[in-house]
């Protein structure tokens, strides 16, 4: 299987990079260092802190509506100081505000936390550090990307305080509900701000993605061929490509919706009689919006999930002290998932009245995506096999991710089957499915990433025991929240219901709903352990060693707190793949990527010994070896 082909680059840009390194350090003032920073590490932290803020808010919103669902008779007057008029005089949550809560919870979690907070943080932080680059391809665009996100956040945040409330038509904002202020209060100013915020968000996301792709393609250090990139970088790379191809479609969908709302066009509206009048809109199709929305919406799932899978691949390999099993299969399955993610969108629409034949095609394509997903799970499990597993908090959260990915992924086989989906569509079964496979799994990936790379971000260690306590409460909590929802969903309970008491069919499960709500409250409370640990450790944590997890990747060759430009002196060259853990014959159980084969004769495989010859021609130019080494 060893097909090795060697290119010797007379490369210009690398040479350039390595030439300027001493000019890269320049001190700025507070504003240029921490606020309008061009440094990828600072921008990553900005994304992270903003993401944490949104995660807390999004989590709190969910707990408020879980109070309603778990304790329908509870008097919520005590929330009046915060929610004001949204608590009715009887001490109940306003049903329209309930929908706004659900909508904002979804929007915040999907876009602001798991897209910007996850991908924004780790793509920015890790791409330059792991491929050996001084910074992103364009620091300025990178800064713009954050500030567009910030602006978008401000607009979305402001919408929460409108008298008519924020958008309330569900995070999928299906028109006509989202287009007609007379249909729901949230479709007034709240929806306008939602659309503005999303437009800004898309700009931010595109600026970021272009940067990530350019950086990965152009700025890898000597020897960092594509087949030597850590899986994190592969994941960010695919994520960025998916983002670039799909977010513009959401932009188009939003733009047409803006036209329909404000300029009287009829892209999505037709045959509507509401509020005592027949509207003039004619000839539009609400289904068109759904196609456009899910053309982003489905790839979005993978935009959220792939970075988490990338992070956990790296963490699981490191903490199992083993190479990730099937490196190429992992890349291949990510690529396959990325491609398939564009041609499965209509499985969200089996019962919208779409042509049933289209339903058959999308069912076929959707279920195919289970194959690469299954491969990933098997590869994770095999990586654990005969490992030497260290349960750092990051590792615990990565294991949690794999568990959620399995539990949540498997229910996708039900929902992807259009015949079964008839009954399950828009019930709590769907809620359980996507919260586990995409929400919780990605959230755990994000937490794993924070615990793992915190030492590199802030130069200090987080408290390990608190991290482990945080994990166990959250892990059990998430299962208690989402697992019971499967039963509720099989029983047919529809989602986005303020209460079920109007229906005899849905009169049961008060006990399970209460359990879910209690678990949700505890899980949210456990996040404060994390918050304390996070902020305390930034300033007071134990000083981090240079390579606290005995990891192979390049970021651990930088100083404890890398400055602008990341490496003092020359950027290290890369000689091997990032997963030489527990290599037979090696002195230690890890060999970092920048150690040449010539220094490790005791552990080299036969074909690696041959590569030693090429390592000596170092001064002339980069040597990039592409091909399978194992």
């Amino acid at each position: 299987m060893a097909t090795t082909d060697i290119h010797i680059h007379q490369d210009v840009h690398h040479h350039d990079d390595h030439g300027h390194e001493h000019d890269e350090h320049h001190e700025g003032n507070f504003w240029t260092t921490y606020i309008f920073s061009l440094d990828h590490k600072i921008i990553a932290k900005q994304f992270l802190i903003t993401g944490i803020f949104w995660a807390l808010l999004g989590g709190t919103l969910s707990v408020i509506f879980r109070l309603q669902l778990g304790f329908p008779d509870m008097n919520l007057d005590w929330l009046k100081p915060v929610l004001g008029e949204w608590i009715t005089p009887e001490g109940k949550l306003d049903p329209e505000f309930y929908l706004a809560l659900v909508t904002m919870h979804g929007t915040i979690m999907v876009f602001f936390v798991l897209t910007a907070g996850l991908s924004g943080t780790f793509s920015n932080f890790l791409i330059p550090l792991q491929i050996g680059a001084r910074d992103m391809a364009s620091g300025f665009m990178n800064m713009l990307s954050y500030w567009f996100f910030f602006l978008s956040s401000v607009v979305m945040f402001v919408s929460l305080f409108l008298e008519t409330g924020p958008a309330g038509g569900g995070w999928t904002i299906y028109p006509p509900l989202s287009a007609l202020p007379q249909a729901i209060k949230g479709s007034g100013m709240g929806m306008t701000l939602w659309l503005v915020a999303m437009a800004l968000f898309i700009v931010s996301s595109l600026l970021g993605s272009i940067n990530y792709i350019t950086t990965v393609i152009n700025m890898r250090t000597r020897g960092m061929s594509f087949t030597r990139m850590p899986l994190t970088i592969w994941a960010f790379f695919f994520t960025a490509i998916i983002g670039i191809l799909s977010f513009p479609v959401l932009f188009a969908a939003a733009l047409l919706l803006i036209f329909d709302r404000s300029f009287g066009t009829s892209f999505y509206l037709s045959d509507i009689y509401i509020g005592g009048e027949a509207l003039a809109h004619d000839g539009g199709s609400p289904i068109l919006f759904q196609h456009l929305f899910w053309f982003l919406g489905h790839p979005e799932v993978y935009i959220v999930l792939l970075p988490a899978l990338g992070l956990s691949s790296e963490i699981i390999a490191t903490n199992s002290r083993k190479p990730i099993f099937g490196y190429k299969a992992m890349i291949g399955s990510m690529l396959f998932i990325a491609i398939l993610s564009f041609i499965v969108w209509a499985h969200h629409m089996f019962v919208t009245g779409m042509n049933p034949f289209l339903g058959s095609i999308f069912m076929l394509l959707t279920l195919i995506i289970a194959v690469p997903s299954a491969v990933k799970i098997f590869n994770y499990v095999t990586t654990l096999w005969k490992g030497n597993i260290v349960f750092t908090p990051a590792m615990l959260f990565s294991i949690g991710l794999v568990s959620f990915f399995l539990t949540g992924g498997i229910t996708g086989i039900f929902l992807g089957n259009s015949a079964i989906d008839i009954q399950l569509h828009d019930t709590y079964f769907v809620v359980a499915h996507f919260h586990l496979v995409m929400g919780s799994a990605s959230f755990f990936g994000m937490l794993a990433g924070i615990y793992h790379w915190f030492p590199k971000m802030f130069g200090r260690m987080m408290n390990e025991t608190l991290g482990q306590v945080h994990f166990w409460i959250t892990f059990v909590g998430v299962y208690l929240v989402f697992f019971p929802m499967h039963y509720i969903g099989i029983a047919g309970f529809p989602r986005r219901y303020y209460s079920w008491t109007n229906f005899e069919t849905f009169s049961g499960f008060a006990d399970l709903n209460m359990l879910v709500s209690v678990a949700a409250i505890l899980t949210l409370a456990a996040q404060f352990i994390f918050l304390f640990n996070f902020f305390y450790s930034i300033w007071r944590g134990r000083l981090a060693p240079l390579n606290p997890w005995n990891s192979n990747t390049l970021e651990w060759t930088t100083p404890r707190k890398p400055g602008h430009g990341n490496w003092v002196g020359e950027i290290p060259s890369v000689y091997r793949w990032p997963y030489d853990y527990s290599k037979p014959g090696a002195k230690e159980d890890f060999i970092p990527q920048h150690i040449p084969f010539s220094e490790t004769p005791e552990s080299n495989l036969p074909h690696e010994n041959e590569l030693i010859k090429l390592e000596t021609s170092n001064g002339e130019g980069a040597i990039i070896i592409e091909g399978n080494k194992h």
Partner: protein, 355 residues
């Protein structure tokens, strides 16, 4: 009192967490860097994962078994039997896969927890293994896909010509049904004709509309093919008949439909469930605004005879709203009056007299 207990509980938990934090910090300082990065309590987590797995799986199987009747709805339609069969086949396949993978994973996690005396196995890839677990899921999924496709195609196939046609109209926040009555043809509608009384937007120049009647309950006969014609007046809604495994969106500007055959009358279901107050229901499953959760329509399934009786007892919409006769074209007025039951069919009268 209750809030005091809660307050004390929270304070206690916080104190415990703080103690854990202090102790672990102090232990960390005392140990220094000697131990490397592997914590002293590393093995504990392996054990915890095993406990979690055992408790989790036992709870899952126990609850699924003990509460089976609570979370499964009885099936009352022909195609529902098929989709439920598919559901349970998929359930069997996935639960087996889920249980095996979970057990294997957590056992590995426990078994291969860190041990300084051991070195991990360098095992970067194995093509046979990878091929195996690509092909096996692919085959299993192919089988599921093809059985699913067959069922889906049967469900969505065109309805037969003599299916009982009933129209369901969704609006914020109520359902209305329209029956074609004797002529078995629904009259034309146009949303621009909708007003406070003419909720359907009935086009009274179409003679099929004269005997259409409105109902706030959905009645249909058992063991006959029903074709629900579904439309929405304002925003998206979705028709959900949980016991019949029927779900289809109601889309403004795009009529949709769903055909099915009920297998049990309301009475039969009351006997089967042992609940004398059992009622079928229709719910909305597409977010449609403030009253989304209250969009309920009672559903009554009966045998042909009582269904016909019920139908005969319903008055045509035009009969209930004779003011709208003015919208009927002059040459059709008499036919409209007769069809709507506003006046006796003179022809029938003559026939009766001559008999």
């Amino acid at each position: 009192m209750m809030s005091l207990i809660i307050f004390l509980g929270v304070a206690l938990v916080l104190a415990i967490l703080f103690m854990i934090f202090r102790i672990s910090t102090l232990v960390g300082i005392a140990k220094g860097k000697k131990e490397g990065y592997v914590g002293a309590n590393n093995g504990v987590h392996g054990t915890l994962f095993i406990i979690f797995m055992v408790v989790g799986l036992v709870a899952f199987f126990w609850y699924s078994y003990a509460h089976f009747d609570e979370y499964t709805l009885p099936i009352a339609s022909e195609h529902g039997k098929e989709t439920d069969k598919l559901f349970w086949i998929t359930m069997a396949v996935t639960v087996i896969a889920f249980a095996i993978i979970s057990i294997v994973m957590f056992v590995f996690i426990y078994q291969y927890r860190y041990n300084p005396a051991r070195k991990a196995k360098f095992f970067p890839d194995n093509h046979i293994l990878e091929l195996t677990w690509t092909i096996i899921p692919a085959i299993v999924l192919a089988v599921l896909i093809f059985t699913g496709l067959r069922t889906w195609n049967e469900i969505t196939a065109p309805a037969s010509k003599d299916a009982e046609v009933i129209e369901i109209i969704a609006q914020q926040f109520a359902w209305t049904a329209r029956y074609p009555s004797k002529d078995k043809e629904l009259g034309k509608v146009n949303y621009k004709l909708i007003d406070a009384v003419n909720e359907f937007g009935l086009d009274l120049s179409d003679k099929n509309s004269y005997d259409d009647f409105k109902s706030l309950e959905l009645h249909f006969p058992v063991d006959e093919e029903i074709l629900l014609k579904i439309r929405a007046k304002d925003v998206l809604h979705s028709v959900f008949l949980p016991h019949f495994r029927v779900k289809m969106d109601a889309v403004p500007g795009m009529p949709t439909q769903f055909k099915f055959k009920a297998t049990k009358t309301t009475e039969e279901m009351r006997i089967e469930t042992g609940n004398p107050n059992f009622n079928y229901e229709l719910a909305c499953t597409e977010i449609c605004g403030k009253g989304h959760f209250s969009m309920r329509m009672p559903v009554i399934v009966e045998d042909r005879e009582s269904y016909d009786r019920w139908k005969a007892s319903q008055e045509a919409w035009l009969k209930q709203n004779p003011d709208y006769l003015k919208n009927v074209p002059a040459q059709l007025k008499e036919a409209a009056m007769i069809k709507a039951g506003l006046q006796k069919d003179p022809g029938a009268g003559v026939a009766a007299v001559t008999e």
